[in-house]
Structures are given as structure tokens and as C-alpha cells.
């Protein structure tokens, strides 16, 4: 098991110099490194493109079953090849074996799903482990036998990027070209099948054949990727770029292109890092690089990233807290007829947490409330703002009660939050609708009148 851990600069034990880094990254570090980095990048592009469609078709895990299922195929191809006196270690013998076994694995999953009550996840688990177990057993049989050159077979499990030859790079290039071509030509066909299978069928699209084409591409990428990243990790190269891309865009074309780019970048950087670092297996580094890109995307993507989402939620909470403060103060003042001071700790709304505390600072800085001692009261501008907020609240409340028959379809909007996000136009519409039904709430604060009254 030492072979997979070898990397191309195995001899170097010290940290790489800047020149070495630059040379590797610019593909000028010598022929071997160039071949390896280029192959990995091309593989990454193919996997990123194909994986994107597979992910959208919800078939990503199928790639994993397929990859694991290739192992017995490799072992059997080796045994049969040796029996016929072929050069059993040659890829021309092993890769077709891998492909056939991989396809057999996928077919087994399909058969299990269609003819038993098993669900797809269980079927994938069974096929994946069953085929892999068979492969491991066959490998140890081969190693126990008198086969010359059998030692290298288990490199397919972990991959051995460093052993890539120029013809492997050419193979990767051909596969990359093919996947790019397929992604362009069948873009709309894959899209309609992945989005709405039944509809696609009514439109006359041959869904099974399109699925076959898509899975065929997955098989191709998996099989040529076996010796680079290994069958355990190849699925990561299919899923991770597409998943990372989905955080950045919600347009299919952009997502496919981005997924290919992220895959290519992971291959390129991962193979480079592995070339520079002694004893770093390239497959793992490539996948880790993709993982880092995914992590960064998940956290920092501008629209759909977790951070952006948190910021949006927090901003909304702050707004809700702010309006709660204004309404509480306004209602108290409206009852009393004069500005009242309410103890601030009474005003901190539970559940809004920090947002509520910040709301106080907000309101004070924008001159809407005055804080004296332990109490807070509305300023003149604050009173107007409070009137507006209270008015929106009562209109919305009344609307929900009056149009209770319509409301059920909108309940998911969370009645309590909606009033804080209503646009002025919607408020006007609400008011008109309620006026037509003669259902305007009593005691509706009129902030516009007050403003008008203030004018000379």
C-alpha cells in the first residue's frame, strides 16, 4: 500500500521553494509534472460538467455506486487478460473491464429499485458495498496467485496521479472535449429531463435514452478518473464542483460552466500542491482543494451563502425589533395622549435577542426615541414613524381577518413578519381593498395627515 502514497517529487523532503511553486503552477516544472497537472485539470473539468447534470438529475450518488462497482471489473479483466496472455496491466484491458462492471452496478441498482420495494438509497448501498467487496476478494486472490505485475492493481482504489503518462493526458483531453461537446449539445435536453421528467416525456423526449447518455458520460469520467484519483474519491470530483457552483448562481448555463471551472481548478491546484509536497497523494489533495472551494462558496457566496443568509436574517430581525419598539411606544402614547416613557428592559423583545438591543441604539441614533434614565419615549419624528408602523400593523391584521378565506394560501408567509416587509404600494392596496369592503380598522393612525398638518 505504499504506491498510492508516492508523489512525483518523492525525493524532495524539504519545503518547496518559491521558484518550484511558480514553475509547477505555470506548467514549466518539467515534463512529468506538466503531464500530471494538465491531466488532473482536464479530468476536473469533465467531472465538473458531467457531475453538474448528474447532481441536478439527482443521480450523483449513482456515480458512487458506479465507481465502487468498477473494482471487480478491473480484477476480472486482469485475470482474463492474463489468461489470454495479454499484457494484463495495460489500461486497454483494465478500463473496459472497469466500465462494464460499473455499468453492471448501475443496472443492478435500477433493477433493485424497479423490482423490489427497496428505495434507491438502500439499493445503492447494497450494490456499492457488494461489488466493492467482490473486488477486494478478487484482488487478494490475484495477489495470492502467480501473476506477474499484480502489485499495481490497488492503485485504482486510491489513484496514482503521479504515474500519469502523456497518453493518459491525451485520454483526459479527449474525454474533456467530449463532455464539453455533450454539455453544449444536450444542454436543453438534460435540463428538461432533470427539471420535469414527466413533462419531458409528454413532449416526446426519450427520457431513458437521455438518462443513458448522461450515465454514460458519468461512466466515462469515472473510468478515466480511476487511475488519477481512485474509485473511492472520484465521486467527490463529480459532486463537489457542482455543489459549490450552486451557491454562486441560479442560472443553469452559468452553473454548468462554473462547475467545470471549479473542477478544473481543483484538479490543477490539487495536482500542483501534490507535486510540490512529498508524500501527498494527488487524488486526496485534488478532492481537498475542491472541498475548500466548496466550503468557501457555502460560507461566502453573495446571495445563497450562509453568511449572506445570516446577515439578511439579522437585518430583518433588527427591523422587526425596531418596529416593535416604535409600535409599543406609539400605542402607549396614543392611549395616554401624551409622550410616555417606558422602561427599556420592558421593550426588549424576547426571541429577537441582540437585534432588539441594537434596535434601541438604532432608534436613538436616528433620533426617533429619547432615552432618559431607565425609560424611553418617542420624539416627534418617532411619533410619526410609530404611527406609520402601527397603521401598517393594523391594516395587515384587519386584512387577514377580513380575507380569512384567501389567507390560507399565504399563511406560509408568517403573518407576523409580513407587516414588516410590505411595500408602500401594497399598503395602499390593502387600504383600498379594506375601504371597499368597509372594513377599515377603527382608530387607524394617520401619519400622512399629521405630516400634512405640520405644513404651513
Amino acid at each position: 500500500m505504499n504506491a498510492p502514497l508516492a508523489s512525483i517529487s518523492d525525493a524532495a523532503s524539504q519545503a518547496p521553494t518559491l521558484t518550484e511553486i511558480v514553475r509547477t503552477l505555470t506548467l514549466t516544472a518539467g515534463f512529468n509534472a506538466k503531464v500530471v497537472v494538465l491531466s488532473a485539470a482536464l479530468l476536473g473539468i469533465s467531472a465538473g460538467l458531467v457531475g453538474c447534470f448528474a447532481l441536478l438529475r439527482k443521480r450523483a450518488l449513482m456515480g458512487d455506486a458506479l465507481a465502487h462497482a468498477t473494482l471487480p471489473g478491473i480484477a476480472l479483466a486482469f485475470i482474463i487478460g492474463a489468461a489470454f496472455g495479454l499484457e494484463a496491466r495495460s489500461l486497454a484491458v483494465l478500463l473496459p473491464g472497469a466500465a462494464i462492471a460499473g455499468i453492471a452496478g448501475v443496472v443492478c441498482v435500477q433493477l433493485l429499485v424497479h423490482h423490489t420495494r427497496l428505495r434507491e438509497d438502500a439499493a445503492i448501498g447494497i450494490v456499492l458495498s457488494g461489488f466493492f467487496g467482490l473486488g477486494v476478494a478478487l484482488l487478494s486472490y490475484i495477489q495470492g496467485g502467480n501473476y506477474a505485475d499484480a502489485g499495481g492493481l490497488n492503485t485504482f482504489i486510491y489513484g496514482q496521479t503521479a504515474a500519469m503518462l502523456p497518453r493518459d493526458a491525451a485520454l483526459m483531453g479527449a474525454v474533456a472535449l467530449l463532455t464539453i461537446l455533450a454539455s453544449v449539445l444536450f444542454h436543453k435536453e438534460f435540463a428538461i429531463v432533470a427539471f420535469n421528467e414527466d413533462y419531458a416525456r409528454t413532449q416526446g423526449w426519450p427520457v431513458p435514452r437521455l438518462d443513458l447518455l448522461m450515465m454514460g458520460l458519468v461512466v466515462l469520467v469515472t473510468v478515466v478518473g480511476l487511475q488519477a484519483v481512485g474509485l473511492l474519491l472520484i465521486v467527490a470530483l463529480l459532486i463537489i464542483p457542482a455543489a459549490a457552483a450552486s451557491f454562486w448562481t441560479r442560472r443553469l448555463r452559468t452553473m454548468v460552466i462554473l462547475s467545470g471551472c471549479i473542477g478544473g481548478f481543483s484538479g490543477y491546484l490539487g495536482a500542483s500542491v501534490s507535486a510540490l509536497t512529498p508524500r501527498m497523494p494527488a487524488g486526496a489533495v485534488i478532492v481537498l482543494t475542491g472541498g475548500v472551494v466548496f466550503l468557501l462558496s457555502m460560507l461566502f457566496a453573495p446571495q445563497r451563502g450562509l453568511l449572506a443568509e445570516q446577515i439578511r436574517t439579522f437585518a430583518l430581525r433588527r427591523r422587526v425589533a425596531r418596529e416593535h419598539w416604535l409600535r409599543r411606544l406609539y400605542e402607549a402614547q396614543d392611549r395616554g395622549g401624551a409622550p410616555v416613557s417606558i422602561p427599556t428592559h420592558d421593550l426588549v423583545s424576547r426571541g429577537l435577542g441582540l437585534g432588539s438591543v441594537l434596535a434601541r441604539v438604532d432608534l436613538r441614533l436616528s433620533g426617533l426615541i429619547e432615552v432618559s434614565g431607565a425609560g424611553a419615549s418617542l420624539t416627534e419624528r418617532g411619533t410619526r414613524e410609530g404611527a406609520r408602523v402601527t397603521r401598517n400593523h393594523r391594516l395587515w391584521e384587519q386584512y387577514l381577518m377580513t380575507y380569512a378565506d384567501l389567507a390560507p394560501s399565504h399563511v406560509d408567509l408568517s403573518a407576523d413578519l409580513v407587516e414588516h416587509v410590505l411595500s408602500p404600494e401594497l399598503i395602499d392596496e390593502l387600504e383600498t381593498a379594506l375601504r371597499e369592503r368597509k372594513a377599515l380598522p377603527e382608530r387607524l393612525p394617520d401619519h400622512t395627515e399629521r405630516e400634512a398638518g405640520g405644513r404651513p
Binding site: F195, Q203, S409
Partner: protein, 277 residues
Amino acid sequence: MSTLPSHERVSPRDLSARPEHSPDSPLSIHALTVAYQRKPVLWDVEFEAPGARLIAIVGPNGAGKSTLIKACLGLVAPAAGRVEFWGGPYRRSRIRVGYVPQRESVDWDFPVSALDVAAMGRYALIGWCRPVSRAHKRAAMDALEYVGMGELSKRQISQLSGGQQQRVFLARALAQDADLYFMDEPFAGVDAATERAIIEVLRSLRAKGKTVICVHHDLQTVPEYFDDVMLLNMRVVASGPVGDVFTRENLVATYGGRLTLLDEASEALARAARGGG
């Protein structure tokens, strides 16, 4: 990896005894029976859709309403029977038949815009491996505008409300410019504005001589919205103009007494199985 079911599978018995249907009718269903694992879902459905009508399919949950549509469109294989479109098999008239599936049947988080979805209605016209040309985009855009979604055409579909999503689905079917439309619960869970917009679209389709067949769940609006109605509970209880068949008696027959009907049918199927094998 199943192959498309054939529509020409004919139950050997019965058919000769039935009246011939007119080839002008957009849809005729003959002796259609559908079973899921030996459990009958549709039993001997006989129906002929007149042209330029709005037709509702009404019945309790599990009555086989969606299944009927799917069987017509070749999405589920019938155990027996035949469905004809303008007197011919479905594959010859695909392009003239539009389909609006249930809104819940797809993942709305899919990375496409409202316009992209509407454009899918043009894919069959565009053909293999060709991108969506400007003219086809224009047609999709027109369809979106027709359902009042023109302003939201660029929006990602997960950012749309349920009613707006339903309108996008409708636009996709309209973009195809079909002559017969199947719609599976187009009014389910939509807001009042969308419901009005949809019914306006349906009426204008009828005015253009097209036929629309809707699975519908709201009995109250049937007389107002539709011309014809099919009362379905595994088999057709009654079908015809709303004024004639949408009666209390027929509704009771459709919605009540369901168990006995099912038992009767299962029994019949068991008999048939015994007789056949």
C-alpha cells in the same frame, strides 16, 4: 429504463361492441383500465371530449383523476384500453397536446428562470441539440406576458409564489400553442388573482376553439368555470354538460359509496384474472 407504453394495446373483448368514436374529437378514451400492482385505479373508462370546451374531471381523493391524465399522456401504462387524439395515436399528435402537471411534482429550486421554464414548451418545436433561438424566446415571453408574468420573467423560479409558479407552468403549456390541454389541479393552492388569471386564460383558449381538461378539486366553482364535467371515481360515474350531469344524485354516487365500488371492481379484476389464467 422503461419504454414508453403503447397506446394501441386493445382489450380483445368489448371493443367491437362499443360505438365508434368520431375522428374529429380531440380526445376519445375507450375502455381504459389502469392498475397499480393488480389494484385497479381506473376501471373501464369511456369518454369522448367535445371540441372547444372547458372540461372538469372531478372526484374524491384517490379516484384516479391524475392517473387518467397520465394514462392519456402515456406516463402510466394502461392494463387495457385505448386513447385516441383526433382519431389517431398520441405519438402522432404530441405537439398538439399540452400538459400542465401538478405544481408539487417538480423541484422549484432548480436553477432556471421563469422564462427558461416557459421556453421548455418550445423545446419539441426546436428539436435536438439546437439552442433556444430568439424567436422561440419571444414566443415564451409572449406566453409569460399572457399570464401576467412578463415582469417576473428573469426571476429564478424558487423566488416565485405558488400562484406565480402555477402561472409559469401554464405559460409553458401555452408557449407550445397546443390544441388540447391537460391540466392537473391548476387551481390548487393559488391566490385569488391567479385563479382569475387562469380562468381568463382558459376562456380565451376556448374562444380559440381549444379544449381544456382540468383535474379540479373545488366543486363549488365547477358550474361557473366549466362547460362539461366528468365525475370520476375509478370509473366514470357520469360525464357530459355541467347542467345535465352535475347533479346532487351523481355527486353522491361519486363521493359516497366508494368502498363498495372498489370492492366490486377488485372482485371483478380477481374474476378476470381467474378466468384469464
